[in-house]
Symmetry: C2
């Protein structure tokens, strides 16, 4: 029998419990596939005494979780604590310094510190792996790092946050407003008590920055992700989009645009014929468009203990098999540093929703602003007065540079005809 | 600069040309990702003088393609000749015997001889890779071998033949009959002059047997795939299925069923809410359902020079990175040999289309046969007489063991009320 891969786990929440359960339930087949057993030998978490419904007495308990990688006999550390800094980062640094493999599901930490960690790992040929950080159980990191590695990637994009997708899908199906669905999602445990990381797009932006680095061979640039969440969507945005043949999805998109790299997370209109339009509920999906492979589409459960544990253990199996290499597909020193692209140059169709006062001249004012900014209108819908005496205007532009849309909105910004912030959503190309 | 990976290519058809073009066009980024250059040094094909629109004078020409792996300095051989035996197999054997990496897109050869080749490769720790053999550019081999490796797979299935999917999609959209669409597909070059490998399901069966081996850790069993093609579908099968809320797709499915393994390729009814229903044209898609990851869905271009070249070069990059292991995820000796499951035990809903004489008593005869076989009917449609005086009956059964359907059809087999062979399609579970 080959030597087991001896694993220590930091963090015993739902995902940590899932990893322990998976390694137990699928033990025999994992041993066959990995070529050797994968054994948990030590664990650590914030609170030792908490009842987690799993027996951890079999494992060595370690009080200071940041020391797990330094324990004699541990080959690999799995980090499931979360947080971009603090104990997770200390554990990562100490584990790699001790020459042990480090596996994490922590997108925030990888988005912020992935390059410095990879620099240490790659220099010593130690595995640093984070499949579970993006797309839950979907092998998207592997898909980009290896599966699509022969391609120049034009765009990588997808639905990267299951909470937002659940909310948007429910708003769409039940024709309900954002706040209402969010409250329900919180009650059901699908959304956090403090949901801002999810609904403001931060979580998706962490993930997008990781995908972009792998797809474009560029350094991580989380700060370069222009991020807008779904907080300001109203039921009418979704129903009007639907009437026009689109679904609204929070899309994280990175695109090589000339010499620059565009990264953003925003609610977008997705044509019904695009596979992302059929990604419902808490599913995630990633699309990569390569110059030889064409469009790859990978879909699956983006969160949850089972899918996340599946990705963590897939990483462990790669390590056990000794099939690994540079975390970001190439040595950190080889990664490019493309400038951030000017999104104003980007051309596309845009959906605009304006809430306006229902009075003479408003329509002319909007039409004039669009004309003067060089925006040509493809469709225009005005819905009669609402309870508060306002009206709703929805328009879809012909393809134009995004700076023209910005210009038009600036022209309207001072107007007292508008009763609220406009909603701007780009339309995803088919 | 690290030593290049020196590659020889056998077969210079569209895919061979694609690989040469890809390695040229994406040369710089491949070198960054692979950590070293990937260089073609030698080529071989049946006809040296044929004009292929690519300059092959840069490469050493080799007359006897089976010797490519024996050339001094060649590190890896790419086989793109096709055929389960003959020169492709001779090349594989000689290349591995020479201790060189072997990469192939040849599903027929892998389905028939994959285990014996893997035995030789694994024993010497030589890469044997075949990502391009299934699903074209979609990383499905990697997805199962590595991405989903932590899971016990319950079912693996998908749309594995782009020609059939193109024909079915066109029949559906244009409401045309099979023969008509096939002839057009042949004229457009989407189907071979001799299309039987595609339309009779043999190509899909080759691919399915490979997926099943990876998913279930079992030996290849191509002969164990029960295969039915799409030749006998009529336009009405598709339109009636559509009216019932389904699309017709040729589905290759392998399922662990009790102690046995069920493998089959058949036209199936796919519910509109299932992602496979939205796989149109020549796209391929594979679904893997694991006990922790849930449902993974991978979609992309299943054929064509670009996507196939993408998969071949992804394999080369893995080899260049030294990230590889046993071809079938575990040593051949560890693979299980599950018995073939009895499909009669399998329970599900079934769509039946019967063409019958339009005369008194036919309905009673069918209803009686169903009842006596223990088949309960969920919906039943009879369409009035056609030009030839016959009528069409379409029925969907409630879930029952498949042997009951077989029994019912045997009861009807002797009847002169039926004017043709019944069409039997299982309904894919959501």
């Amino acid at each position: 029998m080959a030597e087991p891969l001896r694993v220590a786990i930091a963090g015993l929440g739902t995902v940590g419990g899932g990893v322990i359960r998976l390694l137990e339930v699928n033990q025999a087949l994992i041993e066959r596939r990995a070529g050797r057993p994968i054994e948990i030998v030590a664990v650590s978490a914030r609170d030792r005494s908490k009842d987690r419904g799993i027996d951890i007495s079999r494992f060595q308990w370690v009080d200071d979780m940041t020391t797990l990688g330094e324990i004699e006999g541990v080959d690999a550390v799995v980090e499931l604590i979360g947080g971009s800094d603090g104990p997770a980062l200390a554990l990562a640094r100490r584990t790699l310094a001790a020459g042990k493999a480090f596996i994490t599901a922590n997108k925030a930490m990888i988005a912020h510190h992935g390059l410095s960690l990879a620099g240490v790992a790659d220099a010593q040929d130690i595995p640093l792996k984070f499949e579970a950080a993006v797309g839950g159980g979907i092998p998207v990191i592997k898909g980009l790092r290896e599966g699509a590695a022969a391609n120049e990637i034009k765009r990588v994009y997808g639905i990267l946050n299951g909470t937002c997708n659940y909310i948007l899908t429910t708003m769409e199906q039940d024709r309900r407003d954002f706040a209402d669905v969010l409250a329900e999602a919180q009650a059901l445990g699908y959304a956090e008590a403090d949901p801002s990381f999810d609904i403001d797009g931060v979580d998706a932006a962490h993930k997008l920055s990781i995908l972009a680095s792998l797809a474009f061979g560029s350094e991580l640039d989380f700060e370069g992700v222009a991020t807008t969440g779904i907080r300001h969507l109203i039921a009418a945005d979704i129903s009007e989009a639907q009437a026009l043949g689109f679904r609204v999805r929070l899309v994280g998109l990175a695109e090589a645009d000339g010499d620059g790299l565009l990264q953003r997370v925003r609610p977008c209109l997705v044509p019904m014929a695009h596979p992302l339009a059929h990604v419902s509920g808490s599913l995630n999906a990633v699309v990569a468009e390569g110059n030889f492979v064409g469009r790859l589409f990978l879909q699956g459960a983006g969160a949850g203990d089972g899918p996340t544990a599946s990705a963590v253990v897939a990483d462990l199996i790669d390590v056990a098999r000794n099939e690994y290499g540079p975390a970001f597909a190439m040595p950190v020193g080889s990664l490019a540093r493309p400038p951030r692209a000017d999104s104003g140059d980007r051309t596309g169709r845009t959906f605009l929703r304006l809430t306006v006062q229902d009075r003479t001249g408003v329509l002319a004012e909007i039409a004039t602003a669009m004309r003067d900014a060089g925006v040509s209108i493809e469709s225009f819908i005005q819905r009669g007065a609402s309870e508060d005496g306002g009206a709703l205007i929805v328009l879809v532009t012909h393809a134009c540079p995004e700076r023209c849309i910005t210009d038009a909105l600036e022209r309207l910004a001072g107007s007292d005809s508008l009763t609220g912030q406009p909603m701007v959503m780009h339309i995803l190309d088919l």
